[in-house]
Amino acid sequence: MVDTTIALGQSSRRRGLLARRLAPHLFTLLFLAAWQAAALVAPSYLLPGPAQVAWRLWLFVTSWRDLGHLGASLYHVAASIAISFVIGSLLALIPYYAPLLRFAIERRVGPFLNSFSAIGWTLLSIMWFGVTSLTVIFAISAVLVPFALINMSAGLANIDRETIEMGGSFTRRRARMFALVIVPSLYPFIFSTLRIMFGVSWKVTLTAELFGGNAGLGYMVNMERQEFDTATIFAAIVLIITFVHGTDHYLLAPLQAKVSRHYAG
């Protein structure tokens, strides 16, 4: 790669760096100003102002009832990720150990799960289980399984043959081989799978809760929607964006980088 910055003068480079660092904050300020200006014109049920949303956000984090809804959503997400990760990984392992089933999993089960609509699962589970936590968890898990299946299959396909051979020369016990060789070589993929699932799960959790839940942020948002309490809807959205981005950026990404560095070499 050719480094063009060498040609630039020291001072202009520093100015460029400064602009780069300042631009995002300026953008945030401009965005907030534009939002405030629009909120002055529009009625508050259409667009509440940033101060109003911030106040509602403060009320949210100090109210046990509201935090309870956040807790319910977290529980739904965690349970669905755990369930769908296990199911997806098992489905991915089947063709690895029984190659005769490869066509069935990769060409029949996988594409079917992958093309079935999330709304379909949600409304279907409402008909089967009623409006409960089970409905929400079932619907999110059904959406997440194909992501786990595809990622873990890619991981299994990437396992180094020579490592397996080496492992085979040390032990003939398949369980030992699985725990000591196969699972460790899958670590980077397990992480990237969990990270993708975390992102997607928040996209569908609110939908599932809105239609089929009796607790959770989606349920709360639906209640407020009927009362035209748009500030609460905005507060919930801001909270989710902060939470999802924060967890992904400050927890999952560094962890994944660490794991990949450790096992890639």
């Binding site: 995002p24 066509f103 029949r108 999330a118 996209k203 609110l206 809807i233 964006i241």
Partner: protein
């Protein structure tokens, strides 16, 4: 020769087992549905019959067409906006922070139902609201893919291009865009999947037409047969679109 024959036999056996599992699934569905009332789980025969009826009914075809064109328009718009943002961040370094640290994370973690509710509050029910929601959901996927493509562009190739011409538009048209085609295609493929699976939520809240609306109507009427048939119709339309549009597109650009 013998090895070839063996691999052929095993491929045949794999296929046979694959289809057998489909048959087995259908049989167990039929068996389970026999003991249940039709509004809980209708049998496969009724659902398939309804599916055929749906594809023969002008009303369903019209709604399917409405959903399909919304999906296509949304993918195109999301690709333009997401790609445009990626180009902005790539071309103007001082904007990279704005796009990468502000716009991308917010769009990427915005819950899809949030867009749907906001559109339902802001716009009248109709095409515009639905397309707005779908575009908003799809932009981050396009942005991430095109940005990845721009990051991976071969700098030596770009330098060579610049030594031939100084027209930026010419370099863009002849070099940058063709190099981005694989990333654009993967963005289209991902956006297509997300559009049918997740973005359909837009039609539940703010649309008087479309497959999502039909599903919600069937579900509220406890008409499980129509509901399941609609779900399978989406699977069929999804697979048909993939085979007829996306795979040929990928093949066409692969050869270049």
């Amino acid at each position: 020769m013998r090895a070839e024959q063996e691999s052929f036999t095993s491929a045949f056996a794999e296929r046979l087992i694959g289809e057998a599992i489909v048959v087995l699934a259908l049989l167990s569905w039929w068996f389970v549905a026999r003991g249940l009332p039709e509004f809980v789980l209708p049998g496969p025969v009724v659902v398939v019959r309804r599916l055929i009826e749906l594809f023969a009914a002008p009303e369903f075809l019209w709604n399917a067409f409405a959903s399909s064109w919304r999906v296509l328009v949304s993918i195109a718009a999301a690709l333009l906006i997401g790609g445009g943002l990626a180009f902005l961040a790539h071309g103007e370094p001082w904007l990279a922070g704005v796009v990468d640290d502000r716009i991308k994370p917010v769009l990427n973690s915005f819950p899809s139902i949030g867009w749907a509710i906001l559109a339902a509050i802001w716009f009248n029910p109709g095409d515009f609201g639905v397309i707005f929601v779908e575009v908003a959901i799809l932009i981050p996927f396009c942005l991430i893919n095109i940005a990845e493509g721009l990051r991976n562009i071969d700098h030596e190739l770009m330098e060579m291009g610049q030594s031939f011409t100084r027209h930026r538009a010419r370099v863009l048209w002849r070099l940058t865009l063709p190099l981005l085609v694989p990333y654009g295609l993967s963005a289209i493929r991902i956006a297509y999947g997300i559009a049918w699976k997740i973005a359909l939520v837009a039609e539940l809240l703010g649309a008087p037409t479309g497959i999502g609306y039909l599903m919600l109507r069937a579900q509220t009427a406890a008409d499980s047969t129509t509901f399941l048939a609609t779900c399978f119709a989406i699977v069929l339309i999804f697979v048909a679109g993939e085979r007829l549009v996306i795979v040929p597109l990928e093949r066409r650009f692969e050869r270049r």
